[in-house]
């Protein structure tokens, strides 16, 4: 049976983990924003900007980790725009987010043209290479599947741990969660809801941008306009799928990536000759929707998500 062979091959799972990595970064970023009470629909545009920024920085001569930092900073800056409009000004988070996606995407394309006016194919960079972890990578099956990835993929997994620990085990994380549940409670305890929410949106946006940068700096070694291709929107769904919990969201990201890796392989099998390939392309999305329905029925949405907080209003 072909399906069984695919699912038990280490190469398949290695691909799934690789496909999941940008989703993990961006999903953690969105999760941080939403836990603080801000829906960040700028995610798609921020990922595009991050993908470009990291790549162009390396192309211009910076080291790879320098490129990742540049992507993170660009994400923070775009998140800053979002947070000023959505937090102290209290504007509609839908409008701000979609506007930011359009702005960031267009600004990226514009900058690309300004910086590379005469190229027809974008230049390549020396991207992150797989870094087999000593000893662990020698474990049969798990080694090739998990421990022969690039450094950015390991960072994605570390990020999940850091986000989880911060949210549940530190005073800062408690303040972020409370800001998403009851901003009035945060204000009554003498903390600034504005500062907490703005900080969360900026850091979260930075993570999204690194997710974008993964595409140009690790998954591939160049930048194309339609590279992000809706991954940001998938991450919004993954946050819901994960019931706003980092661990569950990680699981969701890997599940989605596994479907994606699976459909590519299924296209090359016997059924791929009969069924049009577009049906396979739809598969991860259809399965995501079904999983979303199954998983998120009883999820506890942050009570103050999308509710602006104005101090002193009654």
């Amino acid at each position: 049976m072909e399906l069984f062979e695919i699912l038990t091959s280490a190469a398949f799972w290695a691909a799934a983990i690789r496909i999941a990595s940008p989703l993990i970064f961006a999903t953690m970023g969105e999760l941080i924003c939403e836990r603080a009470g801000v829906l960040n629909l700028g995610i798609e545009g921020i990922m595009v900007a991050g993908a470009f920024a990291g790549w162009i920085a390396v192309w211009a001569g910076m080291p790879l980790w320098g490129g990742v930092s540049v992507a993170f900073m660009v994400g923070m800056g775009l998140g800053g725009i979002h947070s000023i409009l959505s937090v102290p000004f209290g504007l509609s988070q839908h409008v701000v987010g979609i506007g930011l996606t359009l702005l960031a995407t267009s600004a990226t394309f514009y900058t690309y043209r300004v910086m590379l006016p005469e190229v027809s194919t974008p230049p390549k960079i020396d991207a992150f290479q797989p870094f087999p972890i000593p000893i662990l990578s020698d474990i049969p099956f798990f080694g090739p599947a998990l421990f022969q990835q690039t450094a950015l993929t390991y960072l994605a997994f570390i990020l999940v741990g850091v986000v989880s620990f911060t949210l549940y085990r530190t005073p800062l994380g408690l303040a972020v969660r409370a800001a998403g549940e009851s901003p009035a409670a945060v204000a009554a305890q003498g903390l600034s809801v504005t500062a907490i929410r703005m900080g969360a949106v900026m850091v979260g946006s930075g993570c999204m941008a690194v997710g974008g940068a993964f595409l140009t700096m690790s998954a591939f070694d160049s930048f194309f306009f339609d590279m992000v291709n809706g991954r940001g929107w998938i991450c919004i769904a993954l946050v819901v799928f994960g019931a706003w919990r980092p661990g569950k969201a990680l699981f969701g990201a890997i599940l989605f990536a596994a479907f994606d890796a699976l459909q590519i392989r299924l296209q090359q099998t016997g059924i791929g000759a009969v069924v049009p390939y577009q049906v396979f392309l739809m598969m991860p999305y259809i399965l995501s929707i079904l999983a979303l329905i199954a998983m998120s029925r009883r999820a506890e949405v942050p009570a103050a998500l999308m509710v602006p907080f104005n101090k002193g209003e009654r």
Partner: protein, 513 residues
């Protein structure tokens, strides 16, 4: 109470003035609070009590004036400074995150944000010690959403005590408590006073004010109008000071009831959730008569009011309005039949919070009276709202104000105006004075009595037996969906009604009185 040290003011408010647009919520309020003292801040809804305390706690910024704690001025608009100075506030609407646990809510903001770890164990130990000392029993690991209202209030108090508050501000703390919980709260507060804390207690319940305070400050229309030592005053005086002039409950004149306007016979409705439906009830509402419906909440009142409002249809039995059977019963037909509704929950079903007063006054009549060929007549609607605001003495900044800015009493006056202005035949008044202060209660009752004298049939649903007995011409008791026979005014003692309320007296499905 002993231990008041007036030589040592712990809190001083000087000349506090706060305006919301054209409305002045507080005007030049000045007072001192001494160590170990309990001040009661008394005033009607909308008198500015909550605003004043929110300024003191730094949630609002005063336009003028100065707050000092232990002799040091507080920076305005900074709750953190107030907390650090030892001011703790128990808000009327709790500021708790429902999805977090008790200890998380308490610790929030108390440990520095840059600390690497939450110190959960130490926090819970401190909370347990405080619970023990102040008799505030609560499980630190419980989620807020699983707690009763009384328990949530204990968490609010613990939040203040956890941060070593020396001055406690309690905003209408007893409004949501049962009598037993109120007693427990008072025990806690006495314990706090013994330990040298000072308290500002906001209320409009006079007997509580008399029971707990050393000194009473009366606030009216944002101004401090009187100050009394509690020992030198009494409830009658305070009541008069609070309302401004003596207001009294309306006297019902004797009236001969008119024709039956609404009759139900052997009527049943399906249950609503866990609350029972109506079970074969007989009820007649007559013109020029107030029918009181007594009973413990959740015994079918909701079913009856939904039925009359048109939200549910009868399952069986007959339902007649002015002698003709009803068909196709919906809220729209109910309004067309001249049924006016004062809903039980004025926030949820009575008004749309973010609509302005004009829009809220025409919710039922916009299509019939304020539009022409599909276009809204906003000018007419606004004039109508302005007239209502004036006639019904609604205190607000104008017809363009969002209704959520109004106090409960003023909101209810507007609803009353909306309802009575169309000269309804039948008025369904479901808990019309819940949460209102004396002045507003008397006003609403007076208006209902006037509507009855003008020939309307009024159904008054209330859990307050005093209210029912004072205002009703005839009384029914509802219990588990069953309706008692009609008792004429003055024929029943509260104890006798209590027997029916407890469900005794009903024999099988027959009324054997």
């Amino acid at each position: 109470m002993s231990g008041v040290d007036s030589a040592q003011p712990v809190l001083r408010l000087q000349n506090i003035t706060k305006r919301f647009g054209p409305v002045t919520a507080n005007e030049a309020v000045t007072f001192d609070l001494a160590k170990g003292e309990v001040i009661a801040l008394l005033g009607e809804n909308g008198a500015g009590k909550t605003t004043l305390m929110n300024i003191l706690f730094g949630q609002y910024t005063a336009d003028e004036g100065q707050v000092s704690v232990f002799g040091k001025p507080l920076p305005p608009g900074n709750p953190r400074a107030a907390l650090d100075a030892g001011v703790g506030m128990v808000h009327q609407h709790f500021t708790l995150a429902g999805n977090l646990t008790v200890w998380e809510n308490i610790v929030l903001g108390a440990q520095p944000l840059h600390a690497p770890r939450l110190r959960a164990g130490a926090a819970k130990a401190k909370i347990r010690a405080l619970s023990e000392e102040f008799q505030l029993k609560v499980d630190p690991d419980a989620k807020i959403s699983a707690l009763t209202v009384g328990e949530r209030q204990r968490v609010e108090i613990l939040k203040a005590l956890y941060r070593d508050a020396r001055i406690l501000i309690l905003d209408e703390p007893t409004a949501v408590l049962t009598p037993q919980e109120t007693d427990a709260l008072f025990a806690t507060l006495r314990k706090a006073i013994d330990l040298g804390l000072s308290i500002v207690f906001i209320s409009h319940k006079l007997h509580e004010v008399m029971a707990i305070s050393n000194r009473v400050l009366v606030l009216r229309h944002g101004k401090l109008v009187a100050e009394r030592a509690t020992l030198d005053t009494d409830r009658a005086e305070l009541s008069a000071l609070m309302v401004g002039a003596e207001t009294s409950a309306p006297e019902l004149s004797r009236a001969t009831p008119g024709a039956p306007l609404l009759s139900l016979a052997q009527l049943s409705t399906p249950p609503i959730g866990t609350a029972p439906g109506l079970r074969k009830i007989d009820l007649t509402l007559r013109a020029g008569q107030i029918t009181g419906l007594a009973g413990v909440s959740g015994n079918g009142q909701a079913a009856l009011s939904d039925l009359i409002s048109g939200l549910v249809s009868p399952q069986s039995g007959t339902f007649e309005i002015a002698g003709s059977p009803v068909t196709g019963w919906t809220p729209r037909t109910a309004i067309a039949q001249g049924i006016a509704r004062i809903p039980e929950d004025r926030h949820k079903t009575g008004t749309i919070a973010d609509f302005d007063l004009t829009e809220n006054t025409i919710l039922e009549t916009y299509a019939t009276q304020f539009s022409k060929r599909g276009w809204m007549n906003w000018r007419g609607a606004k004039a109508h709202a302005e007239a209502l605001i004036k006639t019904y003495d609604v205190r607000c900044s104008g017809p363009d104000a969002r209704i959520r800015l109004l106090s409960g009493g003023n909101m209810q006056k507007l609803i009353l105006g909306r309802v009575l202005e169309n000269a309804p035949r039948i008025i369904l008044a479901n808990q019309p004075v819940r949460g209102l202060d004396i002045g507003a209660v008397n006003y609403v009752h007076g208006r209902l009595a006037a509507a009855r004298d003008a020939g309307a049939a009024v159904l008054l649903i209330s859990e307050d037996l005093d209210e029912i007995m004072r205002l009703s011409d005839v009384i029914h008791v509802i219990s588990d969906g069953r309706l008692s026979p009609e008792f004429a005014r003055g024929t029943m003692q509260p104890e006798q009604l209590g027997v029916w309320m407890a469900g005794d007296g009903f024999e099988g499905e027959n009324h054997a009185a």
